[in-house]
């Protein structure tokens, strides 16, 4: 039994405070996934809290043979996909991408570099925003979490074949958008950075 499973077992035995250990360990991963999916810090924070609460409420359903992280990221990505679908219905008329998150500007670099970097990150994030929620989740889980096709399929409750297809189409769409005028500028900005 690994440390995650020990913490899960303790929570199930009636010690809710042990859940804090799991939150500490995975909050960054969950928050980053939510942020990449929703591109809004407040929404990402809400989604992260919600994902942890859902995990807590359904902890008895967690299969100890699976990775806790994969299970948690699965809850997060499915929640974010739902939110994005609802948001699409609500914001159907809004085409403008959201402003970049202030925390994207790293404090370790100079202001000019930070501005270029922030511009690049915002551009990549806006490209990701144009992908369908299912495609975006596959891309984020593959690149940010280095998950295998099988793990992504498990997390998104689909087949490996579907994940391969989503990844290919997502990459293709990103390449097409990046090759368009604004996308090209973005690539150039990236090269400068």
């Amino acid at each position: 039994m690994n440390e995650d499973q020990e913490l899960v077992a303790r929570v199930l035995e009636g010690d809710p405070d042990s859940f804090a250990g799991l939150v500490e360990r995975y909050q960054s991963a969950v928050y980053n996934l939510a942020y990449r999916m929703l591109n809004e810090s407040r929404a990402a924070e809400d989604a992260t809290q919600e994902a942890f609460m859902r995990a807590y409420q359904h902890l008895s359903r967690y299969d100890m043979n699976r990775s806790f992280k994969t299970w948690l990221l699965s809850i997060t990505s499915n929640y974010c996909i739902d939110r994005l679908r609802k948001r699409r219905l609500t914001w159907l008329s809004i085409d403008e991408p959201l402003a970049p998150h202030p925390s994207l500007v790293s404090s370790e670099v100079g202001p000019e570099q930070a501005a270029v970097r922030s511009e690049k990150q915002a551009a990549i994030q806006s490209l990701l925003d144009e992908l369908a929620p299912d495609y975006r989740a596959a891309v984020v889980l593959r690149y940010w979490y280095d998950m295998s096709y099988a793990d992504i399929a498990e997390a998104l409750d689909t087949t490996e074949s579907a994940i391969k297809s989503r990844l290919f189409r997502a990459r293709q769409q990103l390449a097409e958008k990046a090759q368009s005028k604004s996308g090209h500028e973005m690539v150039l900005a990236m090269e400068r950075a």
Partner: protein, 186 residues
């Protein structure tokens, strides 16, 4: 929708999942087919861009764990109270339903006559009448005694004297207790 062989090869090449044979086949395909080579270049650029971006980690809000754990504790508190509240409400509903249904059922089915004729009901009736009679006798005796005391001066004087003596005696006992306490403290 499943990918065709070329798209699958490109995908696996980007994810470094090609076998040696597939790799050779893919290289040959890239040199033979300019369209595939073009697609490959575009996707490679995107792949590199995403890999670079994936290195960036967005910092978390401060005290995040605390806020999650606050919600967990709220949830636990609700979870503990929920069955109790549901239980009490169910019980009250059942009692209310029975309360209304019981007399209605008894009278609707003419059950009150056999109920009244049953031996246990006779015993209950007898005990209740005995109890009522006993209480009545006690009440009359008490009323007669008050009447006698209030209308006979000697009896009233005796009662008053008894009360005075009793209060003096109680007073003396209290003084004795206080004196004994003071001596012990000294």
């Amino acid at each position: 929708m499943a990918l065709n062989q070329t798209d699958d090869l490109i995908n696996r090449a980007l994810d470094n999942l090609l076998s040696d044979d597939d790799d050779e086949f893919f290289k040959a395909l890239l040199s033979d087919d300019t369209k595939v080579a073009g697609t490959w270049d575009g996707l490679q650029q995107v792949d590199a861009m995403l890999k670079r971006e994936a290195q960036t980690e967005i910092p978390l809000p401060i005290d995040f764990t605390v806020s999650v754990m606050e919600r967990v504790h709220d949830h636990e508190a609700r979870r503990r109270w929920y069955p109790l509240v549901v239980g009490v409400l169910t019980l009250l509903s059942v009692i209310a339903a029975l309360n209304i249904a019981f007399p209605v059922t008894i009278f609707a089915l003419d059950l009150y006559q056999p109920l009244l004729d049953s031996p246990i009901m006779t015993a209950i009736q007898y005990l209740a009448s005995e109890l009522i009679e006993f209480v009545q006798i006690g009440r009359f005796m008490l009323a007669d005694w008050f009447n006698y005391v209030l209308t006979t001066p000697e009896a009233l004087a005796t009662v008053v004297l008894a009360l005075v003596v009793a209060s003096i005696w109680i007073g003396l006992l209290e003084v004795k207790k206080l004196t004994a306490g003071a001596l012990q403290t000294a």
